[in-house]
Amino acid sequence: MDLIHFFDPQLAVTYVDVLLDCIDVKDDRVTERPGSEKAARAACMCLLRALSCMDWTVVVDEDMFERYASTISPSANFEELLCRHTMSAIHALLFSHKGHWLDWTDYKPHPTEYVFFANALDHVVRARASLVDSKVPRWVLRFVLHSLSMSLSRDPPPPAPITIACLSIIAVDLGCDPTSERYADTLTCVDLSDPESVPH
């Protein structure tokens, strides 16, 4: 079963609370509290996943957004965080930033985390696809470009679910209907939560 079913979007506010407990913010510089690095990382991943399950056609959970924005300003700097990529992705999604600052060149997480991340982005993109004139943000496409490039330079290549998630994101931006049968068939060929899964 896809991990998405374990993430209730209503828990997003809880994940925000956990995340805020794990970090310090000073002059927009966001750092992990000593000893909270792993918790911050887990909270980030869970929050991103919860966001990916949200209904983006309605207003984003105001309570969750207010709690987040009360501590982290739009101009926050995540450079010093271990989970800076995930945090930056969450930030760009919540503030609808263009994410120019997001640099993927050093993004090389553990395969399981990578699959989780790619899958979450894919779900967000698909969830937002029905919004009027909702193009896939450029920072997401740069993530896709980075990930697909790795399949050419790495030996062994990254897990197949990452490639599938990336292709799915591209398909959405090219205007394919994520609800179409053919599209769904392609995506269900692999278990996106399993890094070892191979497309048929």
Partner: protein, 288 residues
């Protein structure tokens, strides 16, 4: 994913970034022997504007694809995509051009490869790059047929390129260049046209240039014939073309034909052996 790239061109134009992001996967498929996706990809980016693509982020990938140790299929895919790459935007364009040139020499020649290399070469030359390896100009002598929409041919008629090719002092390469650039699908850049008129007059005179003049006149005859087919014909690929654009092309190619016919007449009228006595050695004769 893209079932009919031809009918999707409008949509593709608005989705250029997604298309660029797809490029590494397209190369991966080509590496695995599936070239169909690369064909569709190339078709799609031809119908798009280069400026909206994310090529800037592809620079590191291009280096890897064209590198010495890269497999043949990667080099081939990168070479096929090279006419659509804005080389001048890259930080290390000189180094990349060098890699591209070396990779081109390792890929077996086909008409498609020739088209891509020549198209790219003329584009690179048009922004006055001093980094073009000298050996690359010999690709012009393969004379591949360039497609109707071809940035290399369009920008390749700039004065700087005309001068660059002329400076090679190789009449074969110069003839090949003119045969490639003269086309019903494009006009010649104004300064480039003036420079071309001068070089034709100066470099293609005399009896010994007879064969080259014949080739050039044959090409001009073809181009002028195609232009006579009218606006509708050219608009197949250049929908924005106006009657005055067509007139300019007709005027340019007629003028070049007149110059060559005049040179032909002079060469024919001149008594046999006269050129040997009166003319200094032809500047391009000894080089090529």
């Amino acid at each position: 994913m893209i079932e009919d790239a031809g009918t999707c061109s409008t949509m593709i134009r608005s989705r250029r970034k997604a298309l660029t992001a797809l490029f590494p996967y397209v190369v991966l498929r080509a590496k695995e022997g599936d070239h169909e996706m690369l064909d569709v990809f190339l078709h799609a980016i031809r119908s798009s504007e280069r400026s909206g693509l994310m090529w800037f982020y592809i620079e590191p990938l291009l280096s890897a694809l064209l590198g010495e140790t890269a497999p043949f299929s990667s080099k081939w895919a990168a070479i096929m995509a090279s006419p659509h790459v804005p080389w001048w935007q890259f930080e290390n364009s000189g180094q990349l051009i060098q890699l591209w040139a070396e990779a081109s020499s390792t890929v077996p020649y086909t008409e498609e490869v020739g088209q891509s290399v020549v198209d790219t070469l003329l584009q690179i030359a048009s922004w006055k790059s001093p980094t073009i390896p000298a050996g690359m100009w010999s690709w012009l002598n393969k004379r591949p047929s360039l497609p109707p929409v071809c940035s290399g041919r369009y920008w390749g008629s700039r004065e700087a390129v005309v001068k660059m090719v002329r400076a090679l002092k190789d009449i074969e390469t110069l003839t090949s260049y003119l045969l490639l650039v003269w086309s019903e699908w494009d006009f010649l850049m104004p300064k480039g046209f003036d420079e071309t008129c001068t070089l034709v007059q100066e470099d293609f005179s005399g009896e010994e240039m007879d064969r080259h003049r014949k080739d050039l006149l044959h090409r001009l005859g073809y181009v002028r014939g195609e232009l006579e087919r009218g606006l509708g014909h050219i608009r197949q690929y250049k929908p924005e073309l106006k009657e005055e654009n067509l007139r300019l092309r007709r005027d340019q190619y007629r003028r070049l034909e007149e110059i060559l016919l005049e040179l032909d007449k002079e060469a024919t009228d001149r008594p046999i052996g006269e050129s040997l006595i009166l003319d200094p050695p032809h500047p391009l004769n000894s080089c090529g």
